[in-house]
Structures are given as C-alpha cells and as structure tokens.
C-alpha cells in the first residue's frame, strides 16, 4: 500500500449537508482542509472547498482533435499518394466519404485519452491500493480530514465539536 506519511485527524458526519456546513465553517475559519471523502458526489462541494474547475475536458478536446487529424490526414495520404485507386468513379480525394470515420476516430481518441488521463492524474489504476481513512466513507459516512501538520489537535477537536461531527479519529496514513 502507498504511504503518504501523514498524521490525519478526521471527523465523521452522517449527512452530506452537515459535511457541507462543516466545510463552509472551516473555510470561514481559514482552516486548511486536507480532503473530504464522500460516498457519492456532493453538489456544491467543489465550490465550498474552493476547488478549481477540472481541466479534463480541455484535454479531451485536444485528444479529439488528434483523432480528427489522424483520420483525415491518414485517409488523405492513403487515397491520394500511397496507393490511389478509383472506386466507382469517385475522385481520389472523396472528402464526404471520410466523414463517418473521421467522426468515429474523434470520439475514440477523445474518450480513451480522457479516460486514461483521468485515471492517471487521480492516482487510480488496477492494483493500486490508496490509503483510506475510514471504510465507511464508501457506504453512508462523510469524512472531513485535516493534516495534523497544519492544525493542532485541540483546534481540530473544537472545530469538529462545533460543526457537529459524530466521531473524531486520528490516523497515520
């Protein structure tokens, strides 16, 4: 298992709205949140945490454009210079005939490129074992974690008490 060498103090909430309120409270106190772990995507969380918008879709556009060019230029090269053949009296460079394959390769490159990028930058890959704070965060619990290098334990505990956390735990990961 991958080691992060972090001492973490985390609080557990049982509703996403309590977690959102806690995140907003922490932000207003300028506390440095390490991460939150939730069983499903909680809307408003990116904004509450102040996460930047994902740039994954820009990468997707670039991959798609590579697919478009690969298909278009590839077929152009094959049909006009590598081995030009007349099919049914059509011109050597039948651009309308290229549309379906150009479209398919655009989608293929964009999808695969984006998906591989997503798994790579998120540290997800077959066989990877990422450290988990609490196994219940994929079930019904919502977790807010602080790195103990950035917050004192007493400060964290009083924050969790104020924000209504159900449990507070300390863990090294």
């Amino acid at each position: 298992m991958r080691q992060l060498n972090k001492d973490v103090i985390y609080g557990i909430y049982s509703d996403e709205e309590d977690l959102l309120t806690a995140v907003r409270l922490a932000k207003s106190k300028h506390l440095d949140i390490m991460d939150v772990f939730t069983p499903f995507p909680v809307h408003g969380m990116e904004k509450a945490l102040g996460l930047e918008e994902s740039r994954l879709h820009y990468a997707g556009f670039v991959y798609g454009a590579i697919g478009t060019l690969t298909a278009f230029l590839g077929m152009t090269w094959i049909m006009t210079s590598d081995w030009p053949i007349i099919f049914g009296g059509k011109p050597y460079w039948p651009v309308p005939s290229f549309i379906p394959i150009v479209f398919e390769l655009t989608v293929l490159f964009a999808s695969w490129g984006m998906t591989i990028t997503f798994y790579t930058i998120s540290g997800l890959w077959p066989g990877v074992e990422n450290p988990q704070l609490d196994l219940r965060t994929t079930d019904d619990k919502f977790c807010l974690a602080f790195d103990q290098h950035h917050i004192s334990e007493s400060e964290a505990r009083s924050f969790f008490q104020e924000s209504g956390a159900e449990e507070v735990n300390v863990k090294s990961i």
């Binding site: 959102l20 772990f37 995507p41």
Partner: protein
C-alpha cells in the same frame, strides 16, 4: 445532475424510505450471497445454449459457409439480420446512460447500469456475425487498415462496410469505458465490505478509489463528457449500419429515410430488451424498490413513442414507393407485404406498430405482466423487421430467373440461439459480480427521488442540498 427543483408531479424513484446504508446493503448483497436456485438454473440453460452456439460456429468454420442456406440471390440473410438486431438492442443502454443524463432524467439512475451492461453484451453478440459471415475468419484482420506486404493495399474508405468496422469498434470500446468508469466507485463500496481474496479482487477492480473531493469532481466531469461524446456516437452507429443498405442500388434499400428509421427502431428494440431484463432482474434480485413501476412506465412511454415513429416510417416507405412512380420500388414494397414472405411483414407490423399502441393506457403501462409480454413481442417484431428488409428484398431482385427463397439451416438457427445464450450468460455473470443498480448514483438522487422526501408517503420535508441554489443548474 440532481439536486435542485423537483416538480410536484414527480413520483418517487426510490421506495421503502431507504437510508444510505440500506441502499449499500440492498445493492451489494446480490454479489455477496450464494447464488439462488433460479440463478443457477438460468445459468445452466444459458451456458448450455452458448455451448451449442459455439458448436454451430465451429461447424460453420470447419464446413464452410455452405452449411448455411444463403445463395447467389440471397447473400445476406440470417447472419446480417441477427447482426442488425443485436446492434439495435445495444442502443438503449447508451440512450439511457448518455442521452438521458444530458436531459437530466433522474429515472435513468435505477436502470442505467444494467442497460449499459446490456449494450456491451449485445454489441459482443452483434460483432460475432460479421466476423463469422466472412467465412475465413482467420483473415478477418484484412478489414483493418494496417501496413501490409501487399502494397500496402488499404481497405476501401468509401465503403460503408468499412465505416461499420470503425463505428462498431468505437461504440463498443467507448461504451465499455463509460460503463466501467461508472462501476469504479461501486466496486470500491463492495471492496470496503469485503475481506480476504474478495477484497483483493475488488480492490483491483476499483483501481484504488477513495472517493475524495477531487476524484468525484473529475469523475463527474469525465462522465459528462463521455455522455456528450456517446450521444452523437450512438446516433452515428445505427446510421452507419443503415448506410450498409441505403448506399446500395437495391430497391427497398436505397432510401434516405433509413438512418432515422433505423435509429428509432434500434432504441425501440433496445428498450424492449431492457424491459425484458429489468422485469426479471427486479423480481429475482428483489430490487422492486429501486427499479420501480415508475421506471417501467417511463420506459414504456419510450417504447410507445419509438414504436410509433417506426410505424410512421413503414407507412412513409409505402407512400414514397407509390409516389415515386418507379416500378421497381413499387414492386419491392408490394412484394414485402404480399409476396412470399408476407407473414414476416405481418409479424413486423403487428408486433412493432399495433401492439405497442396499448401503452396509451396508463394501467397497461404500469402492468409488469403486460410489459414483459410486450417486450418479447417487440423483440420478435424488430427481428422480423430486419428479416423483411434483408431477405425479402433480396429474394425478388431485378432478374426473375434468379428469384429465390431462403430458409435457415439448423446451423444458422443454432448460431442465433447461441448468441442469446452468450448474452444471458454474460448478463448472469454480471449480476453476480457487480452491483446491478448504480449505488453512488442512487444515493445521489435519494433526496430528490426517495419516497420519504417526495410523493404521498413523504415524511421529511425536501431540503435543498446547498444554500445557493443556482449552482445546481450547471454541473
């Protein structure tokens, strides 16, 4: 995708006052308990059918295509009929998972996982037929444009058959990515409940998912773009399948109506297959609270609409044939309805156009029993449609001396039944190893779709998840 405003007319999509933990329990448990007797019996039947299909495929390869009844006049028959039928069935999965995601239809959540799985398995079944029907399938890679020692001699990029190779392989692989990316968080849920070898396997499958804020943010961004890409993709796939026919010069095939008509028919047959599977799945796995009558009714509405579109397309074809004043076209359509294969045209009309009209009645739309039978009817009708288009048209070509008749051999029927076996074998394995209903997505819609929050049995007042409501309208 969820959150925000819920119209008062909306009925609950998750019944039984579920908590987040109960959802996890209910949806993980089918993968955790030992298989039921019903599952084992179904698996034995499906796997034996698959084995017979494999035998027939081997027979075809060993004996050659001569073991089929295709002939000089009718060169495409059972094989391509089955290919188009299966590929059409695949379309509903992508419609539910991608198009309904873009249209923010929350009811997709109960059925999207199983429908996407169905897409993948149906495309596998479909892809078998073009591969087998080339006869010498060990040289099937000639279809691919790869540098070779013959020149390089490349495939014909003007040919819709080659476009089909690209369309189907892209469709298969993109559907697989979409499906698997949705499964990753749910595999993590199963992993965190497991121990020992099972935990190791599910950790491998879940790619080490933890559910951190950044993972979810990127996951949603990826899902949305994949949905955006899959939407035109699914429309393109059956459009290109229809080009296989429409770009030819055969009367009855050479029509501009084919792309939209094929796509509507594909969605129609696909929803029928989803209904067949869902009615059985919700019963056997006891998921009636997640795949509710509301879901079944919504899908029956789609069946009604697409069935009617298909009906309009049939009538338009007849009208245009008459209106064209072109005798060959007129004969092609006269032959479909009144020729040697009249029974298959009749079956197509009865199953696809007439019977779904029952779904105008709300009581019938919400009847599980009727839905099941209707879904089988539609599957049969859509198989007849492809048979009518392919075999009936070819049987009576320009030259009366080459007119012919076609009936399948046991080998062809065996391969078709074998693909049904393959489909159900894969589906039965799927329901054992993966959560059939998307766990994270059900939890995500619980507060807007759970029956404790909306509908007549609501006990909790709906709470808006976030204080600033405007941010629900992007994402």
């Amino acid at each position: 995708m969820s959150g925000g405003f819920v119209a008062p007319v909306r009925r609950p999509l998750v019944e039984g006052h579920k908590t987040y933990h109960q959802i996890t329990e209910d949806l993980c448990s089918p993968t955790e308990r030992t298989p039921s007797k019903a599952w084992i019996i179904a698996f034995i039947i499906a796997a034996s059918t698959l084995a017979f299909g494999l035998f027939c495929i081997c027979w075809t390869i060993w004996m050659g295509i001569g073991s089929w009844n295709v002939n000089r006049t009718i060169g495409w028959a059972y094989d391509i009929t089955n290919f188009v039928w299966w590929i059409g069935i695949g379309h509903a999965g992508t419609l539910i998972s991608a198009i309904l995601l873009l249209f923010r239809q929350r009811w997709r959540t109960g059925v999207n996982r199983a429908a996407e799985a169905m897409t993948i398995f149906a495309v596998i079944c479909a892809a078998l037929f073009p591969v087998i029907h080339v006869g010498r399938l060990w040289v099937v890679f000639y279809f691919l444009p790869y540098p070779n020692t013959r020149g390089s001699l490349w495939p014909n990029f003007n040919s819709p058959l080659l476009w089909d190779v690209f369309a189907i392989s892209t469709y298969f692989s993109v559907s697989l990515l979409f499906w698997y990316t949705g499964l990753v968080p749910d595999f993590a849920t199963v992993r965190n409940r497991a121990s020992g070898l099972r935990k190791k396997i599910y950790n491998f499958l879940s790619f080490g998912w933890t559910g951190s804020a950044k993972q979810w943010q990127r996951w949603e961004s990826l899902s949305l773009v994949l949905a955006g890409l899959s939407t035109p993709l699914v429309l393109s796939v059956h459009t290109i399948v229809s080009f296989d026919f429409a770009t030819s010069v055969i009367p009855g095939w050479h029509t501009t109506i084919f792309p939209p008509y094929f796509v509507a028919g594909a969605i129609f047959s696909g929803f029928a297959m989803v209904q067949t599977l869902m009615v059985m799945t919700r019963k056997i796995l006891k998921l009636e609270e997640y795949i509710t009558l509301e879901h079944i009714e919504s899908m029956n509405k789609v069946i009604l609409v697409t069935g009617t579109i298909v009906g309009v397309a049939y009538l338009t074809e007849l009208f245009i044939a008459w209106y064209s004043g072109y005798v060959y076209e007129q004969f092609a359509f006269f032959n479909r309805a009144m020729g040697v294969y009249w029974w298959s045209y009749f079956g197509m009309m009865a199953c696809n156009v007439i019977s779904p009209q029952l779904f105008w009645v709300k009581k019938y739309r919400r009847s599980v029993f009727l839905t099941f039978f209707m879904s089988i009817f539609v599957n049969i009708g859509m198989w007849f449609e492809r048979f009518v288009i392919i075999a009936t048209t070819l049987a009576r070509d320009y030259l009366p001396s080459s007119w012919s008749y076609y009936r399948p051999t046991w080998v062809e029927i065996g391969i078709f039944i074998g693909t049904l076996g393959l489909f159900f074998t894969l589906y039965l394995i799927f329901v054992r190893v993966a959560p059939v209903v998307a766990i994270a997505e059900i939890k995500h819609i619980l507060k807007v779709g759970g029956d404790q929050y909306i509908g007549e049995h609501a006990t909790h007042k709906h709470r808006v998840v976030s204080s600033d409501s405007h941010e629900h309208h992007h994402s």
